[in-house]
């Protein structure tokens, strides 16, 4: 009977001062925890400042094998050649044209015993892709992607970095160089987001511009 009897229960709230002390203690514990975490970050990031500013689908070319570094350099140079032709002639050169002009890697260098590539240029509205499929299974594939400015939009301000180039008429291009480890398993068409299809965007230097 005693259990079911009506009882008076005193509800004593914690004083605001005591509650504030508890909150401050918790805040200090959180701050200390964050400080410990920041000074001993468990995430696998290199101590290198460049690695800190990369997303999971980005890499610095210096971390790749020497052959890949050479290919990256050649693609950077060939991109400048292609942009020069685009500025002069008004259209992007296709892969056979670059090969005829002797521009590496579109024109293979017989002195180098590197993997042979089948290069093709495709255009999807404003996106121009130069895609290199390896003839040897297991070798990486390569992609040079250029995004032309949308003529219906105001002209973009040119930023001097690895991702922007400028034509002679001042048009700002978004450019990027990508690699994909297993080049044999490439889909027929490259989508608007190469990173969603396993491609890795390469940089020569820190994309955030920290020197």
């Amino acid at each position: 009977m005693a259990d079911t009897a009506v009882q008076d229960v005193e509800i004593a709230a914690v004083s605001a001062r005591d509650e504030l002390i508890h909150v401050l203690r918790a805040a200090m514990a959180i701050t200390a925890g964050v400080w410990l975490y920041v000074t001993n970050n468990p995430f696998p990031v290199s101590s290198n400042a460049i690695q800190r500013s990369l997303l999971p689908f980005q890499a610095i070319v210096a971390t790749l094998p020497a052959e890949s570094q050479l290919m990256f350099r050649e693609l950077q140079v060939s991109l400048i050649e292609a942009e020069t032709i685009r500025s002069a002639e008004g259209s992007w050169p296709d892969a056979p044209r670059l090969r005829e002009d002797g521009i590496e890697p579109f024109a293979p260098n017989p002195a180098l015993k590197t993997v042979a590539y089948d290069w093709a240029m495709t255009r999807d509205r404003l996106i121009i892709n130069y895609l290199g499929r390896p003839e040897k299974p297991g070798a990486p594939a390569w992609l040079v992607r250029v995004l032309e400015p949308d003529p219906s939009l105001p002209r973009e301000v040119f930023v001097e970095d690895e991702e922007h180039d400028q034509l002679l008429d001042g048009a700002v291009l978004h450019v990027s160089i990508w690699t994909r480890p297993d080049g044999a398993a490439l889909p027929e068409r490259i989508g608007p987001l190469p990173q969603a299809e396993g491609w890795i965007q390469l940089y020569a230097a820190d994309p955030s511009g920290i020197r």
Binding site: I30, N41, S53, F57, Q195, G198, P207
Partner: protein, 299 residues
């Protein structure tokens, strides 16, 4: 995780899974949805019952500031968790304490915190753009499946398990405290503790969801599933079950849409959950009318 990705890719090649599952980022995204749906769906009906929708929105904005603080403290772009957890938890403690002791209405006080954290975040973002390329930062701020790593997934699973255990342990007290705080106190629950406890687990759950859904949209997944569930649920148990189901359908649907149409995952998930809300709203109205019609015929 590589064997799991290879196994899923082989199933995709054989046509057992959709072809998109050949990409590890999509498998990670799907696993994130599987973990996030019960966490956010389970929390969302308590968020709605405790009228904490605006509080959740303010936390999402605070996370933007947390990202900026983390990056300025030297954390990597891909995992500024120290800044996010630290700043959001401190903001939560501040908001709950002031809300409990100030005489102003709670939404006004949360509005003050909301404005304060956002203003601070914007100022810090300007400082941040001197260190980072803004294109690099925006995918972290607005959520992108492509930036989710195995480490993020493991953190999400760990937090999900801890939150689930704590929620199951305190669920009855939390629900009673949400519906009738004096009754909860009389029955032995510490109302103040429960208020801080729920705010903290909500904060932790929001922070781990940010990389998938994005800071600006995360509050949608802690409010809309419960709002949709409320349209069709007939009991507290079905309210919880519907909330989780809606969160899962919205997550999986949004993921599929974002992959096919190449739109941000967060935006696609929010559109999906909003679409489900309006479907359940119409279904709820239809069901009530049918019940009312049956009652009139009976009498």
């Amino acid at each position: 995780m590589t064997p799991l990705y290879q196994w899923a890719a082989s199933l995709a090649e054989r046509g057992i899974l959709p072809s998109d599952f050949q990409y590890p980022f999509l498998i990670r995204g799907f696993l994130c949805v599987l973990v996030l749906a019960p966490i956010l769906g389970g929390l969302s009906h308590l968020v709605v019952t405790r009228r904490m929708a605006f509080f959740s929105a303010a936390l999402g904005q605070a996370a933007l500031t947390g990202v900026a603080i983390g990056l300025l403290l030297g954390e990597p772009l891909n995992a500024p968790y120290g800044g996010m957890f630290g700043f959001c938890l401190l903001t939560t403690l501040g908001m709950v304490y002031v809300k409990r002791h100030a005489t102003l209405p709670p939404d006004t006080l949360i509005g003050v915190f909301h404005a304060l954290t956002l203003g601070l975040g914007l100022c810090l973002l300007v400082a941040l753009t001197r260190q980072f390329n803004v294109h690099q930062v925006e995918s972290v701020l607005f959520g992108s499946l492509l930036t989710v790593t195995d480490a993020d997934l493991l953190l999400l699973v760990a937090v999900g398990v801890i939150v689930a255990i704590l929620l199951v342990r305190e669920y009855n007290k939390l629900l009673l405290d949400s519906l009738n705080p004096p009754l909860a106190t009389v029955s032995g629950a510490d109302s103040a503790f429960l208020e801080y406890f729920f705010a903290v687990i909500l904060t932790v759950s929001i922070v781990v969801s940010l990389k998938v859904i994005g800071a600006l949209l995360v509050e949608a997944l802690v409010v809309v599933p419960a709002a949709a569930a409320r349209n069709v649920a007939g009991s507290t148990r079905s309210y919880l079950a519907w909330s989780i189901l809606v969160a899962f359908l919205a997550g999986a649907g949004g993921l599929a849409v974002s992959t096919k149409l190449l739109v941000p995952t967060g935006g696609a998930v929010v559109l999906a959950v909003s679409g489900i809300f309006f479907i359940t709203l119409a279904a709820g109205v239809y069901a009530r009318r049918r019940r009312a019609g049956a009652y009139e015929i009976k009498n």
